[in-house]
């Protein structure tokens, strides 16, 4: 896929079997018994001297929405960014442990990061369309990756991506206007369309609706629910009700540790850990 050396790959798989030993899992963290798309083992992260993540073990379930919740500074965004190596851009970051996508270590030396990010797309808190036309926003990455060969193929891809993101009907007649001229909610859906244009398998979303009004938020949530059928989605949110509404699984982070990971219904009605209970009910921790 994105690893250029197959020898690397087989080595990775062997290591993975050793590291999935359940004895290494911290107390209170139970990974769902379903197909894991992304597998995280003993993940640690430091910003300089400061450790931000401690021994995270987590299986992200395929074609499900997984929400990451927790107080500010708990490490949920750092964790999210580990899943497509966005932290590589930050100086002084050290990462240990293993993150696998479909069994391949994404931190292996020969991984092509550009390729990786076409498999694991990302949508940010603040909509950040390119200062280009709506059409070019979508077409840019597929052109870079050589996904569409002809103009008509590209037209098709742009339309398909915008349709999947629920934006086509609103912008079909003005594809050449700047993406930045759209409303906040539309811009965010444009960013989602841009992310899915390169046909990723996993989409990471960092507070995708926190800058939007309730109607635009509802539209994004509806979209997430539809995308779930084709993509594995990991979403960071401060809005607990949003996690409860959109996610099949929810992970609670606290002070750099994964405290509890369970199906969303269980986590919100009968959490196992007192820390989770205190956080989701708004108590002093």
């Amino acid at each position: 896929m994105y690893s250029t050396e197959s020898a690397e790959y087989s080595e990775t798989v062997t290591d993975r079997d050793a590291s999935t030993d359940t004895a290494t899992e911290p107390a209170g963290v139970q990974t769902p018994e379903a197909q894991a798309k992304v597998l995280v083992r003993d993940l640690k992260l430091w910003y300089g001297e400061t450790q931000a993540l401690y021994d995270i073990n987590m299986d992200v379930v395929e074609r499900q929405v997984t929400a990451l919740i927790g107080p500010s500074g708990c490490g949920k965004s750092s964790f999210l960014r580990c899943l497509n190596r966005m932290n590589d851009l930050i100086p002084d970051v050290a990462i240990r442990g293993r993150v696998e996508l479909d069994g391949q270590d994404i931190y292996a030396p020969h991984v092509d990061i550009v390729q990786l990010r076409s498999h694991v797309g990302m949508v940010f808190q603040k909509p950040n369309p390119f200062p280009k036309s709506i059409y070019e926003n979508i077409a840019y990455a597929p052109r870079l990756h050589g996904i569409a060969e002809s103009r008509s193929q590209m037209d098709e891809l742009v339309e398909d991506s915008l349709r999947r993101a629920g934006l086509w009907n609103e912008v079909a007649d003005r594809l050449d206007t700047p993406g930045t001229a759209l409303s906040g909610g539309q811009q965010q859906r444009l960013c989602i369309a841009r992310a899915i244009a390169v046909n990723p398998e996993v989409i990471l979303m960092d507070e995708p609706a926190s800058a939007l009004d309730p109607m635009a938020t509802a539209t994004i949530e509806e979209l997430i629910d539809e995308l779930r059928h084709n993509y594995t989605i990991v979403i960071v949110t401060h809005n607990l009700q949003q996690a409860a509404r959109v996610a099949g699984y929810t992970a609670f982070f606290h002070m750099g540790r994964l405290i509890e990971y369970n199906d969303t219904d269980t986590l919100f009605t009968t959490p196992r850990e007192q820390k989770t209970e205190d956080y989701i009910t708004g108590r002093y921790g």
Partner: protein
Amino acid sequence: MDKKSFTQHISQQYNEELEDILNQVMTMGGLVEQQLSDALVALIEGDNERGEHVVTNDYRVNAIEVELDEACTHILARRQPAASDLRLIMAVIKTITDLERIGDEAERIGRMALHLLDSDRRRSPMAAVESLGQHVRGMLRGALDSFARMDTAQAVRVAQEDIQADSQYEVIMRELMQYMQDYPKSVPRVMDVVWSVRALERIGDRARNICEYVVYFVRGKDVRHTSFEQMAQEATGDRH
């Protein structure tokens, strides 16, 4: 879990709202218990004044139920409770429904008591009826107590007392049936006693329901329609 945990929300207002709801449930429970107690005196001793009092007082129970329903709706809409807060609100909504029905049963008993003549009382197994009445009253008190203390062990004990209530009920009913067979003319009046005894048995069932909500609230386990053994296991075992 203890009651203290409802004072630890970051929102002081939320703490107060939940405390108010708990206090109101206890007030409603106390009122219903008093209604039942008065209804029993009216039934057993033929105290018509008490009987009338029970009948006219039922509106107070209903009014608290409506008030509490509104308070719970308010919490759901405004606070979107989760985890133990959510379970508390669910348990309260269900508990007050049962309390209101217990109030209705007490009212029914009060009404029946007004129909009965002293001669009917002499011919009926009143001692047994009183024993059943005191038993289910004790169950109601125990259920409310376990709710107030969030004490699952007590909830299980009280729920199990329903077995005895059911068997007392069976014995009384057999006796009343026999009496009606022997004295067919007495049937219309004895039926009033039958309905009252039936009401008492239902109160036992409803007290048991409240005990089940206590286990749900504290342990997060739904023990309705399970055996007493399972209930005891869920109430004392690990929450997960």
